[in-house]
């Protein structure tokens, strides 16, 4: 048996010589443009079966009975599995093991997996699943704070014993994080203006384009090989092995091509299901979700309700802030506790406010489970505090950018958690930069050369739908800035592992980099090759497929991979270099006194002194020997937040981005055209400038989506109403404006190369900037995103 399409190792040769700081091209680019790159859904195996998942149509119900007889008797069906067939542990979870592999007598959300089918064709599997008779008895649902924590509320997880159970005020609250600092009451007494507001953020979906998929192949040793699209192989493994009842070394995972992630692949989806079916049938099993199923297959961004109050002096100095942030975590915990920690600790935004009283909670409800999505708790807070900043500026009759500038944090500022920001925090400078960019010309829909004549509807609100030729269209400009943490926080042991090998192949020195980092599109593989070239002075770098044969790389999330796995690769390269130099000293040390120096470099395939004198060819230094080192690398440790005061050195690094949005609103129809979305961001050091800009533009566009169109709509009974790309809309190229990007590089001395995590910050400020611009155009309050035409037209 052989897997005919599996991940390929990516070798980049002399065509791309660049080290860090250059916009080298992706090593997987050619495979991706020729259609040969093997995404998880592209895998194929002889005798492969197709798995299919039967899901609950109800948000909360007791399963009275399940009858699989007819499904099992269907021609072409190999097996049908339910809760009763699970071999070992029946629950899993990132932080709290509360998620059933298959429903165990109760379903707690719409779309919860109830049974699995494996068959010879996807249609056979679907037809068989339709023949499974499940009798449900509907239970009352809890869908918001009132229903979840009110008297007599049904408990989602009675008898909780997780590490948050002891301190939460109600068992339907996953986690609660307060932060108190200073004296709010005293500050309030001194405030000249007080502004408050209630804000709401809808449920956003990651909507990565490559649906959940993978191929599980049973092995002769009783184990299983899983080819999978995920964000974190080892976290999957740690949850998966106990469910399969196998030791971790019997579950071998290899990363397949990942079609985007954005947080949505941090939790397990079909991993356990495919492995269970494969182990049971003894045949390879492939599961590929379609778009409908994908909406149920992963967690979403927490919808949030936020109450904020700020007080300021009349000359525009913030005195205090209080807020209460209620995140809907849905039926299972996923990463809700960490999202709570982020929302609370970043709730002030990139501003200096000495007196705060903050509370953030996540609820258990019967709504769809929510967890990680780009921005992770900081997105929701940023929408609210930036709306507050605009309100305060208006109240004070002050320019909104000037007001923000007066309160902007800088290096040395103290976070509400008491943490001192000990690297550059150029918040005022980022705002200055976006404001200084030239504004796009007005009325661009009037085609050049035909004054007052023909109209290009593609440049107008409504676009191709031809709703306006300029009637009702008003321009608005808005600003926002945000703060995001980088890396895993609150004392988490956030490390990564890299294995680097240096050897001579076909007369050339070659570096081989092996990590378990999930390349989900962000370009980590590009950066690893650049780091290896810079550190080892070779042009040929081979990036091995990510798998569990090497230690954990941690998650491709929290803007952390370039920092942490990049750091691990750098560190491993340094160790390899030191070893190579030892070899050189042993072989050639007596020929030249410079060998005795500590500062020797590897450049252009040679050992050179810092003065540029060549001591030896790397090829001769290595000879037949390969230097091969695997090691772990950690960023400096963080601390958990105090459960009462919220104080603690919680975050390893912060990143900042600012946006200016220019929108044109058809005020009569409530349709919005974002004309331009300029961004300035500090990235510490751009290891690959082209990729950095790509991350900023992509993150910006997801923020735009949340501002004006993206929301999973959940009915009052907890059911998802729009699980399709027909009704869950993400921006097309005609919705997306030009996105000029100004990249600032102020090194963070704590980080490898001084870099700063890039991926998430632009997703934060994009949304409030767009909404601020719509407010400027319409004069409306707009306290909820996504902004809908109904909100703009009062209908």
């Amino acid at each position: 048996m052989s897997v005919t399409r599996t991940p390929t190792s990516l070798t980049q040769g002399s065509r791309t010589k660049g080290g860090i700081g250059e916009s080298t091209l992706r090593p997987d680019g050619t495979l991706k443009v020729t259609g040969e790159f093997a995404y998880a859904s592209d895998l194929w195996h002889e005798d492969m079966l197709w798995g299919f998942t039967l899901r609950s149509p109800y948000a909360h119900a007791r399963i009275v009975s399940v009858d699989i007889a007819e499904a099992l008797a269907t021609a072409g069906v190999e097996t049908v599995m339910t809760y009763a067939d699970l071999p070992a542990e029946t629950r899993y979870g990132l932080e709290i093991k509360d998620t059933p592999v298959l429903a165990d007598g109760v379903v707690r959300c719409h779309g919860e997996p109830v049974a699995l089918v494996a068959a010879d064709h996807p249609e056979t599997a679907r037809r068989a699943a339709a023949k499974i008779k499940v009798e449900y008895a509907e239970l009352p649902v809890v869908v918001d704070e009132e229903s979840a924590t009110g008297p007599g509320a049904p408990l989602l997880h009675p008898g909780r014993s997780d590490h948050h159970a002891g301190h939460v005020p109600h068992p339907n609250i996953v986690h609660r994080q307060p932060i108190v600092r200073g004296d709010v009451a005293a500050a309030k007494a001194r405030a000249d203006v007080v502004v408050s507001g209630d804000y709401e953020v809808g449920m956003q979906d990651q909507a990565f384009l490559g649906p959940e998929s993978g191929l599980a192949v049973p092995a002769e040793d009783g184990g299983v090989d899983l080819y999978i699209a995920t964000q974190w192989l080892h976290a999957d493994l740690g949850q998966l092995a106990p469910v399969l009842g196998l030791p971790e070394d019997k579950v071998r995972m290899t990363l397949s091509g990942v079609g985007g992630a954005f947080g949505g692949r941090e939790d397990l989806s079909m991993q356990a299901h495919a492995c269970l079916l494969a182990l049971r049938t003894g045949k390879p099993v492939k599961i590929v979700y379609n778009r409908f199923e994908s909406f149920f297959g992963h967690v979403h961004r927490h919808p949030a309700k936020l109450h904020y109050e700020h007080g300021a002096t009349k000359d525009g100095k913030l005195l205090y802030m209080t807020c209460r942030i209620v995140l809907d975590g849905g039926a299972y915990a996923s990463s809700s506790p960490a999202v709570v920690g982020n929302a609370a600790s970043l709730s002030v935004g990139p501003y200096v406010v000495d007196n705060v009283d903050i509370e953030a909670i996540a609820l258990y409800t019967n709504n769809p489970p929510c967890g990680a999505m780009r921005g992770f708790g900081a997105v929701q807070a940023c929408f609210a505090y930036e709306a507050q900043m605009d309100k305060l500026a208006a109240e004070l009759g002050m320019d909104p950018v000037e007001f923000r500038r007066r309160n902007a944090m800088a290096q040395g500022a103290v976070m509400p958690t008491g943490q001192v920001v000990d690297s550059p925090a150029p918040v005022a400078e980022l705002l200055r930069r976006v404001k200084a960019m030239p504004l796009p010309p007005e009325r661009q829909w009037l085609s050049a050369g035909s004054p007052g004549g023909s109209v290009d509807v593609r440049a107008l609100p409504g676009g191709l739908s031809n709703t306006t030729h300029g009637e009702g269209v008003v321009r608005g400009v808005g600003y926002a800035v945000g703060i995001k943490n980088v890396g895993f926080s609150e004392g988490f042991d956030d490390y990564s592992t890299a294995r680097v090998r240096l050897e001579v192949v076909a007369g050339q020195p070659v570096a081989v980099v092996h990590t378990a980092m999930a390349e989900v599109g962000q370009g980590g593989v590009t950066v690893h090759a650049q780091i290896a070239r810079t550190e080892l002075g070779v042009s040929q770098v081979s990036i091995q497929p990510a798998d569990t044969r090497v230690g954990s790389a941690g998650s491709t999330s929290a803007s952390r991979q370039t920092y942490v796995t990049g750091g691990a690769v750098k560190h491993a390269c340094e160790a390899v270099r030191a070893r190579a130099l030892e070899l050189g000293r042993a072989k050639f040390g007596t020929y030249h006194p410079a060998w005795a120096r500590a500062e020797l470099l590897l450049e252009g395939g040679k050992v050179v002194t810092d003065g540029g004198e060549v001591l030896a060819d790397l090829v001769d230094v290595l000879g037949d020997e390969a230097v091969d080192i695997e090691l772990e690398w950690r960023h400096r440790p963080t601390q958990a937040f105090d459960l009462v005061t919220g104080q603690g050195f919680g975050h390893v690094q912060y990143s900042f981005a600012a946006h200016r949005a220019v929108v044109e609103v058809d005020t009569e129809l409530g349709l919005v055209k974002v004309v331009e979305l300029a961004c300035a961001q500090d990235v510490g050091k751009a290891l690959n400038p082209q990729s950095v800009v790509g991350q900023i533009q992509g993150g910006t566009t997801q923020g735009l989506g949340l501002a004006v169109m993206e929301e999973i709509v959940v009915s009052e009974d907890g059911r998802v109403r729009n699980p399709s790309f027909t009704d869950y809309l993400i921006p097309t190229i005609l919705d997306t404006p030009t996105i000029p990007v100004d990249v600032l590089e102020l090194a963070d001395d704590h980080a490898p190369y001084g870099l700063r995590g890039v991926g998430e910050a632009p997703t934060l400020s994009s949304t409030p900037a767009v909404v601020s611009a719509i407010r400027a155009a319409t004069g409306l309050a707009l306290n909820r995103v996504p902004v809908r035409p109904e909100h703009l037209t009062g209908t």
Partner: protein
């Protein structure tokens, strides 16, 4: 499921007569979605791709006889002069890829209230050529839509063509969606001026169980235009007339609240689109009048 591949129109009619439950498929842009998402498992699929005449059109004296499967892209490229409203509507259908496959026949067959072609057909005036082995009948398009996703076709009938009145005056089409491309209509409005008969016709999409004409609005506007001598004078339509026309158009709606939009918004938006499309078409009419009188 069986896949029927008739090579000619006659074979297709015979197959439909033999298997009345057969679902015709041309562009597949509706039917395949339903199959891919397991919403529908028809006993028979009746492929119309091999029937050349369905992809042709004839421009006659009064009508364009538009083959049922002519893709929207071809309407945009080749029939903009004869069928300006439908060409505009075609341009709002799905994506370029969808416009390369989808057709007016498919829109009619699906009879979704959100179909983009319907308001343009209603405004222009059209008859659906419904054919079976029993013969051909012409169904006025306003009688064709009988309910949500239901139409007046008999089980053995197929749509051969749509006979659409050639434009004798300016036409407009406008559609609201919450995205600037590739979006299903929240609601839509089509308007056609017919200076020859001094009439106006309208079509509303996605704001009632079926596509509908705003008859009261049409009647009102025709009367107002006649009484005010607007057709002859080519004067700007008074804002109060435009406003009342818009209100009456909104009054013709019978919308629902759904995930795409509220009923109230749909009424409101139809009114705005009615007013705007009236402005655009009347401006065009006045422009034409003026250039005609100058010449």
């Amino acid at each position: 499921m069986d896949f029927l591949r008739p090579a000619s129109w006659e074979e297709a009619l015979a197959a439909k007569a033999e298997h009345p439950t057969a679902v015709p498929i041309a562009g597949g842009t509706d039917v395949m979605v339903e199959i891919n998402f397991d919403h529908r498992r028809p006993e028979y699929l009746l492929d119309l791709n091999r029937i050349g005449e369905l992809y042709e059109w004839e421009v006659g004296e009064r009508d364009v006889r538009l083959g049922a499967a002519v893709p929207y892209t071809r309407i945009m490229d080749h029939l903009r002069a004869e069928l300006p409203g439908l060409a505009l509507a075609s341009h709002t259908v799905g994506s370029p890829q969808i416009r390369n496959r989808g057709s007016v026949g498919g829109n009619l067959g699906a009879a979704s209230p959100a179909g983009d072609a319907h308001p343009a057909l209603l405004a222009a005036g059209a008859d659906v050529e419904a054919v079976s082995v029993r013969g051909t009948r012409l169904i006025p398009v306003e009688e064709f839509y009988t309910g949500v996703k239901r139409n007046a076709l008999e089980p053995d009938e197929l749509i051969r063509a749509v006979r659409i009145r050639k434009a004798d005056g300016p036409q407009a089409f406008s559609k609201v969606g919450t995205r600037n491309a590739m979006v299903i209509a929240v609601c839509a409005f089509g308007l056609a001026l017919h200076p020859g008969t001094r009439t106006v016709r309208t079509g509303i999409g996605s704001a009632a169980p079926t596509p509908v004409r705003a008859r009261a609005a049409e009647d009102f506007l025709q009367a107002a235009l006649a009484e005010g001598g607007f057709w002859d004078s080519g004067r700007i339509i008074t804002p109060s007339v435009a406003r009342q026309f818009a209100e009456l158009a909104a009054g013709a709606c019978n919308p629902i609240d759904d995930v795409r939009g509220s009923a109230e918004y749909r009424r409101h938006a139809v009114a705005v689109m009615a007013r705007r499309t009236l402005g655009w078409t009347w401006d065009a009419y006045r422009g034409n009048e003026r250039s005609a009188s100058c010449a």
